[in-house]
């Protein structure tokens, strides 16, 4: 009897058009839109770029010119130098045409208009040059052939400052939008959970009434419906991750199997939450649907899925809330997986998701176990 129920619950869920729209088309369309909108933003803003720099060479520093010439001649030159006078250099800096002004003299000095990674790179270059100028000038004088090697070493050290990784994962800020998309898809799964409750309760639908008249225990029917819906939801979530990763090329880092695990579990959280909402007595089907939709959106909002600063606001005002907010937990699980090399935080999120799934489902069961209704 259970397998019979499972078979038809599965068929029903697969053929439900709403499910197809929200669980498959929604992530495909919105994922494609995100890719189109955010693709390359990160690369454009953080990729290696030659630093346009003004040099005021009042000291006529030949050693610096030699080094600068070598740096500019590389395949990916570190500096694009413009030799000019003091006034013009300041104008170029103020206009934003150069990142900084290097002044020659006994030692190099640097003037910048703002702080940033490019300015830090220039500062590092100038400091290194000053420290090693003696070495470089000596090498230039004694062995001109070695200048290139010295210059390359200096460039390499400069690059290493820029590229020290804080994480092994994808640091592209746009990746957060895809985490949020997956969390939102999982939260929309609550609608399918709500449907389970509706079609199994006599006071909510004619189907529920007919099922309740049959000799199949209510728990068997609900159990079969939940399992079938979990399977469908998990498949939809896995499909979403596969589409984002392999069709749109979203980089989820090198722990893809765990991304799949997290996505699968997040699907069960959404379904269980919907089932729980649907099981709340004394509310009509429409009221429950409204609660499910607005509740999902509110949880997404509070977890920062719509406004990124909201996460910080919640962390300050209600630090505990997002630790149990399903939308935040789902999104954070992907984030932790990508950002942290150890699995402690990720495991924490996975365990939280599992507990949320079980608690929501159990509460739903307890509330729907009632056998008779005061009114239909």
């Amino acid at each position: 009897m259970f397998l019979h129920n499972l078979k038809y619950e599965f068929l029903t869920a697969v053929r439900t058009k709403d499910l197809l729209i929200w669980m498959i088309l929604f992530p495909i369309i919105l994922g494609g839109f995100f890719k189109f909108a955010f693709d390359g933003i990160y690369e454009k803003t953080t990729q290696f770029s030659t630093l346009k720099t003004a040099v005021v060479d009042e000291a006529d520093d030949k050693n610096f010119r030699s080094v600068a010439e070598s740096l500019s001649a590389q395949e990916k030159p570190l500096l694009d130098i413009v030799y000019t006078d003091r006034d013009n250099a300041k104008k170029l800096l103020n206009d934003g045409d150069v990142k900084g002004i290097i002044y020659t003299g006994k030692e190099l000095s640097l003037s910048v208009a703002e702080n940033g990674i490019d300015q830090t790179t220039l500062k590092f270059f100038v400091d290194k040059y000053n420290l090693r100028s003696r070495v470089i000038s000596r090498a230039a004088q004694s062995d001109p052939q070695s200048i290139e090697k010295v210059a390359a070493a200096l460039s390499e050290e400069t690059d290493s400052v820029r590229e020290i990784p804080l994480t092994e994962g994808n640091t592209d800020n746009a990746i957060q939008y895809f985490y949020n998309l997956l969390a939102m898809v999982a939260m929309f799964g609550s609608m399918t959970g709500l449907h389970i409750s509706n079609v199994n309760q006599a006071n909510l639908s004619a189907l529920g009434a007919r099922k309740n008249c049959s000799p199949t225990p209510k728990g068997t029917g609900i159990c079969a419906a939940l399992i079938a819906t979990y399977i469908i939801e998990i498949l939809c979530m896995l499909l979403s991750v596969t589409y984002l990763r392999f069709v749109l090329g979203v980089d989820f880092g090198d722990k893809l199997p765990l991304v799949y695990l997290s996505a699968a579990l997040s699907g069960t959280v959404g379904v269980s939450m919907g089932f729980f909402i649907g099981s709340i007595c004394c509310l009509s089907e429409n009221a429950k649907t409204s609660i499910s939709i607005t509740g999902s959106l509110l949880l997404c909002f509070l977890s920062g899925l719509m406004i990124s600063d909201m996460k910080q606001v919640m962390a300050r005002k209600l630090p505990w809330f997002n630790k149990i907010n399903p939308a935040a937990v789902i999104s954070d699980s992907f984030y932790c997986l990508n950002m942290y090399s150890d699995y402690r935080r990720f495991t924490e999120k996975i365990v939280t998701m599992f507990i949320l799934s079980v608690v929501f489902a159990l509460l739903g069961f307890i509330m729907t176990r009632r056998k008779k209704y005061a009114s239909l």
Binding site: R15, T16, C213, K372, L376
Partner: protein, 316 residues
């Protein structure tokens, strides 16, 4: 006693201050088609829902097949088929799948179930639509699918709650014929409706309900015998005088008359040859008349006489 399939004793159901069922007693014998007749809101569906243990009730006792009915009385539920007022099928499943699904809630054996499902399809005439989804079916076919889902497991007791609402006359006749066939095949049937013609046509016994109470019960002949009116005669007459009308009213077995200027309506209670007597009087007084109609009392007359109001709302 072993012939009693359903026994309802002193059933009371309240919704706040409203009494939906007021000390209802009802007994249904094996092989009967019991019609629960009453206007909307009279308590028919509430009775069914209490009977099926879907609704809680304040007082009373319900026994089906000699055992007390409860939500977990699965051995009783196994032998009950229910056809709801609202069509209760899955839009995502085909006709065959829907019938198989609901039959599977009662019958575990796959091979046996297959035969039952095919029987139900044949019985409801849905052979050409087995692969159709419910949304592609007409209203009548949808109702037949609803019935097939309720009877596929061959239950001993079948409860039909207004199964012909919003159904065209042709489909309605098929449904009614089907119900009679199920009864001939051995099923006991409870049929609720506010269509008196249907109830008169198929039910072997009728319980009339109003305001949660059973106000009359019996065969249709028994019910009609309960009321004063046995015959209503309508005669087209122009220019009938009050004296002539009084003469008609004075005839034996005539208990009331009405005249609207063109039609004289005569209400008779008992007696034979009422029409001959009235027409004889009119000829004797040389009163010319047109067409003559005679009507036997309907269940509506029964309801009207007992409650003082029509059974069916005017807009229906």
């Amino acid at each position: 006693m072993e012939n009693t399939v359903v026994k309802i004793e002193n059933l009371v159901k309240r919704y706040g201050d409203l009494i939906a069922l007021d000390h209802l007693d009802l007994e249904i014998k094996k092989g009967e088609i019991l019609g629960l007749l009453g206007p909307n809101g009279s308590g028919k569906t509430t009775t069914i829902n209490c009977l099926l243990s879907l609704l809680s009730f304040n007082k009373g006792r319900i026994e089906i097949f000699g055992r007390e009915m409860s939500p977990t009385a699965y051995d009783i539920k196994k032998n009950i088929g229910i056809i709801m007022q609202n069509v209760a099928v899955f839009d995502e499943l085909t006709v065959y799948e829907n019938i198989d699904y609901f039959c599977g809630l009662y019958i575990n054996d796959k091979a046996k179930r297959k035969g039952y499902v095919e029987d139900a399809i044949r019985f409801t005439g849905l052979e050409d639509f087995v692969k159709f989804y419910p949304k592609k079916l007409s209203g009548g076919l949808l109702r037949r699918l609803n019935i097939a889902c309720g009877i596929a497991h061959k239950p001993e007791l079948i409860i039909l709650d207004e199964p012909t609402v919003a159904v065209d006359p042709q489909s309605r006749n098929k449904i009614l014929e089907g119900i009679q066939q199920l009864n001939r095949d051995g099923a006991t049937i409870i049929y609720t409706s506010h269509y008196m013609e249907e109830v008169e046509q198929i039910c072997t016994r009728i319980a009339i309900m109003d305001k949660g109470r059973k106000i009359a019960e019996g065969t249709k002949e028994e019910l009609k015998r309960m009321i004063k009116n046995t015959e209503t005669l309508t005669i087209e007459i122009i220019g009938l005088t009050d004296a002539d009308r009084a003469a008609v009213a004075g005839l034996p077995h005539v208990y009331d008359t009405a005249y609207d200027g063109s039609k004289l309506t005569v209400y008779c209670s008992g007696g034979k040859h009422n029409l001959i007597r009235i027409l004889g009087l009119l000829q004797e007084k040389e009163i010319s008349f047109g067409r003559v109609y005679t009507e036997l009392p309907t269940l509506n007359d029964v309801f009207l006489e007992i409650t003082g109001k029509a059974l069916r709302d005017k807009e229906e």
